[in-house]
Structure formats: C-alpha cells, structure tokens
C-alpha cells in the first residue's frame, strides 16, 4: 500500500472553499426541503386518517408512489422528464429560465420524497394516539380541523419524536443523491477534491467528519426539543389506560 498522506491539502485553497461551499449547499438543500416536507407530510398523514375515504386512498397512493421508487430515479424524473411532459412554455421556463435549476428541482424532489415518509410517521402517530382523544375532541364540539390542530397532531408529534428525528438526519444524507443531477453539495465537492488532488483519504475524511458533525448537532437539537416536550406533559404510558 503506497499512499502519500497530505492532510494539509484540505486546508489549502481552492479545496477548503469547495468543501465549505459543499457543506453550505447540503445544509441549505436539506433545511429548505425539510421546511416544505414537514407541513406537506403532516397534511398528507392527517388526511390519511381523516373522514373522507376517497382522500384517504389518494393519500395512500401518494405515499406508495414516492416510497417505492428510488430517490435517484425520482431525481431523474424531475430533472430530465418533468420539463418534457409539461406544457411547452413551462418546460422552457424550467430548462432555460429557472435560476439554479439543479438545486431547485433537487430540493423539490427531496421535499416530496421526504414528505411521503413524514406522512407515514405522522399517520402512525395519529393511529397510536387512538380513537379516544379523537372522540373526546369531537364530542366537545370541535371540528375535525380543530381536533387535529389542538389535540391529535400535538399528541402525534410527541409520540413520533424519535422517528421524526431520524428522518431529519436522513434528509441530510439523502440530499447527497442530488449530486446525480449536478448539485455540488458536500459529497460531490469531496469527490471533486479527490479527482483533482488524488488525496481521497483526506477529502472523504473531511466530508465524513462534517456529516458526523451535522448528525451530532441534529441529535443535540432533537434531544433539546424532546426534553422541552416531555417537560410539558410527555406522553408515556398514560396514553394507554389499564
């Protein structure tokens, strides 16, 4: 094994700024996609347990469609296929006029993919909360919207903090798939550093450490949120009585 170590390379320009830009793109892409995915997923997950059968079915298919196709294929569909099948003017806009098209389409794709997974998590939380609170809320004269808004969703979020946390971690990892449509995020930048310098160890180690730091930071945030929630009447065993 002959390898010339050069740890200094990752602190030299332009490689350092490549890696930092990559980190910035990864964080921006993930957070933006999460900001879309969380409300959308919550909506779809809620409608899946709602009173209308047709909408329940529709939402079930929404989830199935996004879950059963690999993310990279979805990226290709949004980036290469979608602009071709929409009306010509829209397609032209997407291909020619949209600023940073890779990032925009990658973000959209990641957001929709994640929203389907969040919908499943929210649904399982709503099911775990059970019919009792739903009946209690409706019996007090709340509309379905009020019952979900004030009672069922707050319960569901508390019950599903652990899977929501791992989904939040996953979105940072999944954002790397956007490199296949040309988004220069962290993994892509580390790969580029490797191609230019042949210092793969150093480049990939830098990326690995940065991803680990992101994970670590997310777990810290999630832990703090969770503590906050459990101070405010955490849901333990009292959900199931007897």
């Amino acid at each position: 094994m002959s390898y010339r170590w050069n740890w200094g390379i990752i602190f030299e320009q332009p490689y350092l700024s490549w890696l930092l830009q990559g980190l910035g793109v990864t964080v921006a892409l993930s957070c933006l996609a999460w900001a879309i995915a969380l409300p959308l997923g919550t909506l779809v997950g809620s409608l899946r347990t709602g009173p209308y059968r047709a909408i329940r079915l529709l939402c079930a298919w929404y989830v199935q469609a996004f879950r059963n196709v690999p993310l990279i294929v979805q990226m290709f569909l949004w980036f290469f296929v979608f602009p071709e099948v929409v009306p010509k003017a829209v397609g032209f806009f997407l291909k020619r006029q949209l600023p940073i098209p890779e990032f925009t389409m990658g973000c959209l794709c990641l957001a929709l993919y994640t929203s389907a997974r969040i919908a499943e998590i929210i649904r399982s939380g709503l099911e775990a909360a059970g019919n009792g609170p739903r009946n209690a809320a409706l019996a007090s004269g709340m509309t379905y919207y009020q019952a979900y808004r004030y009672v069922l969703l707050p319960m569901s979020f508390r019950l599903t903090m652990p899977p929501l946390t791992s989904e939040f971690l996953a979105i940072f990892k999944n954002s790397s798939v956007a490199l296949t449509i040309g988004v220069l995020e962290l993994t892509a930048q580390s790969h580029q550093v490797e191609s230019f310098t042949f210092q793969g160890f150093e480049a990939f180690t830098a990326a690995t450490v940065l991803y680990a730091l992101i994970s670590w930071a997310c777990l810290g945030i999630a832990g703090a949120v969770n503590r906050q929630l459990s101070n405010a009447g955490g849901l333990g065993t009292e959900v199931a009585i007897k």
Binding site: A136, A137, I241
Partner: protein
C-alpha cells in the same frame, strides 16, 4: 329534550341496534344498563353523532341528528360526554384540557375560560391540581377532570359512557359522588353504568338493553323491585351476586 326514534344500526350484516326508541326529558337521570355487547355505548354515541346509524332518527333539543341543516359540531358543543378511559389530552395540563374547547369552539376569552375552569375544578374537588398534567393524577382524579371539562361547555345534557369501569375500586366512589351532586343540581344525564347503587340513589329511569334492543324502559324503583323480563332478572341477579 332527547328523542330517540326507531334507531337501527348495522356493522356490515351484523345488526347492533334494533328499533331503539326512548325519550328523555329535561332534568331526568336515565341509566342505561345491560350485558356487555348489548349496544349501550353505541346507542349513547349515536346521540352526539360519534356513531352513525342507518335507520331512524335522534332529535336533541329540537334538532334532528340526521337533518342536513343540523350543524353536528354545534350540536356536540351542547352535549357533554365522559368516556370510559377519560381521554384527557395528555399533552395539556388540567386547566388547558378544560379551557381548550370553550376557547376554540365557544370563542370565549382565555381569562373567562380559566376562571370557569377553576370554579369547576373546585366543584369536583381538585382545586390544587389545575397545573398538573393528566399523567400526574390518579384515575379517579382524571375522570373528575374529564367531567369538569365537559361541564365547561355548559351542556344541556351529559352523556356518561361507563365512567367508572376503568377505575380501581377505591376510586369509584369519588367519581360517583361528583355525578350524584351533578344529578341533584338538576343536570339532564344519560349514564351507561353497572353501578346499580348510583341508579338507585339518583336515577329516574332505567333503559335495560340486550342484544341491541331496549328491553325495558321503566322508572328506576319499578325496575329494581319488579323487573318484567327474564333477561333483566338474570342480569340483575348476576350484578347482585358480584
């Protein structure tokens, strides 16, 4: 106040309610009893529309449940319900549990709702526990909070669905005492229960149900002294033996 008229309900091909009819006047305390699976809970959940039914009608305070003009949410806000397993919202304190629906459904101010909640908590003997979460209370205390929560809506009638059957024996009386006080204050009540002592103390009428049919509908004293049907006699002797 409530008129139940020929209500029939099926789950698929299985009939759970057959031609149920009864009427309940203002200030009455009607005890619904019968063997488990006889349709008692289903019947009272029909009264506030938590369960639907295929045939017949129920009129609450001159409004038909089946009429498309009736706003079911409005109707529910005037009918209180207490559940077997309390169904307090675990993420809210007792005060918040009690004030949620008055604020969101009746649009009362926060201060007014809190004042009312404090009065009600005092009424059920739990003044000191307003800031606690449901998980910090015993079952009997939780059920009393649940009663206060229903009363906060100033209901015309209160429905109780086996309010003591999820409680440990030593806690049953504290809940029954609250209910007796409520009955003596003139509240109209429909109570599904096996507590025959409660029925004898404050009940005005008994509906005895078996296999989805209202078998007897009689004044309390008559029912306990001279039950007409064999089924009621068998049921009463099995209760007494316990």
């Amino acid at each position: 106040m409530i008129k139940i008229d020929g209500v029939c309900k099926w789950y698929g091909s299985h009939q759970v309610l057959t031609e149920c009819s009864a009427s309940i006047a203002r200030g009455e305390v009607v005890v619904v009893c019968g063997p488990s699976g006889s349709g008692k809970s289903t019947l009272i959940k029909c009264i506030n529309g938590l369960e639907s039914f295929q045939r017949g009608d129920i009129v609450v305070d001159q409004e038909s449940i089946k009429s498309p003009k009736t706003k079911i949410y409005k109707l529910r806000s005037r009918v209180g319900m207490v559940f077997q397993s309390f169904e307090l919202y675990p993420h809210l304190t007792c005060i918040e549990n009690i004030t949620l629906a008055p604020q969101k459904v009746l649009k009362r101010s926060r201060d007014e709702s809190i004042d009312r909640a404090k009065t009600l908590l005092k009424q059920v003997g739990l003044s000191a526990h307003g800031a606690k979460y449901p998980s910090q209370l015993s079952g009997g205390q939780q059920q009393r909070v649940a009663i206060a929560r229903s009363l906060a809506m100033d209901p015309l009638v209160m429905l109780f669905d086996e309010p003591t059957s999820a409680l440990d024996p030593e806690m049953i009386n504290e809940v029954l005492d609250v209910m007796v006080d409520l009955a003596r204050s003139g509240m109209t009540m429909v109570v599904v229960t096996h507590e025959m002592g409660f029925a004898q103390r404050v009940g005005t009428r008994v509906l005895f149900m078996d296999a989805g049919v209202i078998v007897e509908d009689r004044a309390c004293s008559e029912f306990f002294d001279r039950p007409e049907s064999d089924r009621a006699r068998a049921f009463l002797s099995s209760i007494v033996r316990r």
